[in-house]
């Protein structure tokens, strides 16, 4: 009475129906009733962590705070993005991972570096770029109202201690990579306490640079001078983060250092 086609479809549909019912039943069994039907997690060893990446690619890891993230840049690139643009334009093959997190302070960065995968990324890196310290010193602008030597000294000591920890953390997983730490600038130089704060920033930078000087492959990149004049033209509307012009100036400097080091390193 019914065509073969319909009979076939009906039987087929019933089979499909049974299959889906089975799936539903399995889900119920696994998630609602009793023991799930699979073993618990065993550390998978089937995929060995490959350490030999293709050597032609320059691997860059960026660490740090909102400056690394690119806050204030309309395009969201930050100095990291502009450095990568410049290197790509120079014909370099690069891979880039940006681990910057807004609001990061030195102790938090030291914590972040303890993560297994972050350590692995750092271990593979050829170049490490960092901005850290802005949040430790300025405390989101609070420091502006209290520039007494004692409170600055306390901040500074804590920062240097953490910076040391961060650097030795990097060296523990990677002895070869060049580390570029971008220094601080004074975003508040045209404010009331600006003069005093500029002095503090210079002192802060000096000490950080001294600390970095202990390691030949750790480079301190000053930014203070970049923002010394016309600071408002280079800052975002929040008067704290650089805008795209500011970032691109920072990037110019770092990119030049990276390409210079690469060329020098070639036989």
């Amino acid at each position: 009475m019914h065509s073969k086609k319909v009979r076939f479809l009906t039987i087929f549909a019933s089979l499909a129906c049974l299959l889906w019912l089975f799936g539903l039943g399995w889900t119920l069994k696994d998630y609602l009733i009793g023991k799930p039907s699979s073993a618990s997690i065993s550390p998978s060893t089937d995929e060995p962590v490959e350490t030999t990446e293709e050597t032609s690619v320059l691997k860059i890891v960026a660490l740090g705070d909102s400056l690394t993230r690119g806050t204030g840049d309309i395009e969201g690139k930050g100095y990291v993005g502009y450095v990568s643009d410049r290197l790509k334009a120079a014909g370099k093959d690069i891979s880039l991972i940006n681990l910057g997190i807004k609001g990061l302070t030195a102790p938090l960065l030291a914590d972040q570096m303890k993560e297994k995968e972050v350590g692995r990324q750092l271990g593979q890196a050829d170049v490490i770029m960092m901005t850290i310290g802005g949040n430790d010193l300025f405390l989101g602008g609070q420091t502006l109202s209290d520039v007494s030597e004692a409170s600055i000294r306390a901040l500074e000591d804590r920062y240097l201690l953490n910076l040391q920890e961060i650097l030795s953390g990097i060296r523990a997983v990677n002895t070869e990579a060049t580390v570029y730490l971008l220094g601080l600038y004074n975003p508040f130089s045209e404010f009331e306490n600006g003069e005093q704060l500029s002095e503090v920033v210079r002192g802060w930078n000096y000490k950080a640079a001294e600390l970095l000087a202990k390691d030949a492959k750790t480079v301190y990149v000053p930014t203070y001078d970049l923002f010394q004049q016309n600071v408002n033209e280079l800052l975002f509307t929040d008067h704290f983060h650089p805008n795209e012009k500011g970032y691109s100036r920072m990037a110019e400097r770092v990119a030049a250092l990276i390409t210079g080091a690469e060329q020098g390193g070639q036989p």
Binding site: V6, L19, W20, L24, I41, K102, K116
Partner: protein
Amino acid sequence: MINLVQNEMTKLMGKRRFMIIAIIIIVLLSMFTYAQSKEAESILERIGTTDWRTELQQQIVDMQNRLSSAGQWREQFQIQIKQSQYYLDNNINPAQPGAPTFIRGFVQNSAELFLPLLVMIIAVDIVSSERSMGTIKLLLTRPVSRFKILLSKYIALILSVSIVIFLFGSLSYLVSAVMFGNQGWSAPVLTGFSSQGGELDISGVRLVSQWQYIIQQFGLAWFISVVVGTLSFMLSILMRSSAAGMGTMLACLISGAILSNMVSSWESAKYLFMVNLGLMDYVSGSAPPIDGMTLGFSLSVLAVWMLGSLIVSFTVFMRKDIY
């Protein structure tokens, strides 16, 4: 009875609905696969490596950065970060490239709205079209009880839903296998995350093979579609015009999608069926729309709605005057 069901299947086939549904699925699939391959390309360009660990680590950091400005999505982000971190720490790739991974994501995203819409195409005029075309009189003058007639229609509907889900699965497999390759069926998937009060509970987490996970997903998708189908079936009896039934059902589904994003403070909304359609989210471990909702709870709410609408359907259909 079997004859009656086959009779209904013949009618459904005559309407060529399955063809339309298949075409819709193929068009959408080709857009999604294309979009996904584009996305993979752009990530490759941005990060410069195909190492999934680098990619996942970058995603985690990106989410951490969005946390501070996430507002109401904060909890969702936090759970997602912890989940990704868990994958990373256990060295398991959450998105092994290949057809199975694509299907997994596609079902996950379609189960709440897209699949129910496809089912609606079939279900919404299964009774009302007979009324508007006048064929219902012929059907009811047969020496078969009204109950049996309606039951055969309902069974035909369930069978069609199964076909739709099968079409969906097989087509997405075919298209994605061409685009991404066939590997990854036995890739491990972490499941059993549960999130309560914005905290990710990893005590129940376990590994399952991807193929098992996908079958379970399809089981859930089928259930959701059957529930939506049953509700549309009821509307098709209650309302004379198919367009009105379609509109009502659409409004419900869409309001569900919107409500799930904003009901977290209106607790009794959890008894609405459309808020409970996100069954997949329990399995994948994202936060439920309202605190305290679980897979069992949602399944029971949906089952109650389904039973209720079946009772309404049959009583109304058996008592109604047909003229």
